[in-house]
Symmetry: C2
Subunit: 243 residues, 2 copies
């Protein structure tokens, strides 16, 4: 299992693909559909297809249908098509993603009013990131807005996406494998490594992207291995299998 | 000590004024200066003057000056004059109030960037209300945005205003009285009654405004008395003094 592959050397996933190992990509991307996400990676030369990609929006769609919930959506316009097949009339829950400019005062009040008007308010949050960096500076991520609505409505949101166990389990189900048979490789210690370990998988951190040296003395999460790049992680997996 | 007097019968405060009791008004109003707030009440017929009114913005101004802090402000335009005397160059803290429409995506990101860029981020919140009602519906209050910034920056805000002890203490200092000599009368069980009790005062709730019948079986706050209106509370105080 790999986190968002954009920062990884392309060769590494080719090696994995050439082996008989199953490969899935788990991303917390909530600003685009899987189709757009994959198309972008394909243009960059990655060998990747839509069914291999797991992101929060389609996972949320599955949960909504399973529980007969009709969402009021506060998400980025680009990810709306993932919710096309969901009944959104007369909402009985709220789903928030990283909505960026859609996190306006008016839209936040509207999402709040839907929640507070429900007999049993249910809030889903597509991830719980604190903030992220864009070319024009740092931006508050969905987790901050989740906390605002949680406080206002006195409830706890259900997080869909890494590091949620439900999210990782849905990927394991798709692979038809048990947690101990699968290794997660990612750059985010808490969301990738910790989340996978909590689910019973091994978690290996790569020293790229979100990696910080302080991760190697983190108080609660210890990776099952730390490698400089994805190629090293692939070698580790293959050597552990006796190849 | 009285909470926002707008819902109280005017006669009651006249009775209090005619006695030798000291009277102060404590409000969490953060959308107007005290001058505008008092002018409005005077037009409605209330006998009230600016030095009798305590609200979060001037209390914050005092704290900022005392600690040599220069705020980045995310507040309602109408309350800005309260901060006229404060140095706001090169901010080393953030102050948020109920900014209403000023709680835009861009302004929230800007306040966040100031905080996260500080070596020791300090966030002041003028109150911590969850939400309030306006003619066009419910609105998220400052507490929700406080929680968003707290989570994003991994810090705890300092709340200025009711129910903060620092806030009530500043009013007691102004009166030159000890807590046991003062009674707080208000309609908000947690912010008025609980806050005052936490500070050592007696707290009486009036069954008006924010009062809910469930307040009388609240798990953590029990009022020292519950009355139907301010006149009853005034009678209670005067009779307890033997008048």
């Amino acid at each position: 299992m790999l986190s968002d592959p954009r920062k990884a050397p392309k060769g590494s996933s080719f090696i994995l693909k050439a082996s008989d190992l199953q490969l899935r990509f788990c991303t917390n991307e909530t600003q685009a559909t899987r189709e757009k996400f994959v198309a972008k990676l394909q243009r960059l030369g990655f060998d990747i297809s839509v069914p291999e990609v797991f992101s929060p929006a389609p996972a949320a769609t599955a949960v909504l249908k399973e529980r007969g919930l009709r969402p009021h959506l506060l998400v980025y316009d680009g990810v709306l098509p993932e919710f096309d097949s969901v009944d959104k009339t007369n909402p009985n829950c709220v789903v928030i993603g990283d909505a960026a400019e859609n996190f306006s005062y008016e839209n936040l009040n509207e999402a709040f009013r839907v929640l507070i008007g429900l007999e049993k308010p249910v809030l889903f949050s597509l991830g719980k990131g604190r903030y992220y960096k864009e070319t024009d500076g740092l931006k508050l991520d969905v987790g901050a807005y989740m906390k605002a609505l949680e406080y206002a409505c006195d409830l706890e949101a259900e997080v869909i996406g890494k590091p949620s166990t439900v999210f990782f389990q849905s990927v394991l189900n798709d692979m038809g494998l048990q947690p101990h048979e699968v290794m997660m490789i990612g750059d985010d210690l808490v969301n990738d490594v910790g989340g996978a370990q909590h689910c019973g998988m091994k978690g290996v951190q790569v020293r790229t992207g979100k990696y910080r040296p302080s991760d190697e003395r983190h108080p609660t999460v210890t990776a099952d291995g730390t490698v400089d790049n994805l190629a090293q992680a692939v070698n580790m997996i293959l050597s552990q299998r006796g190849h």
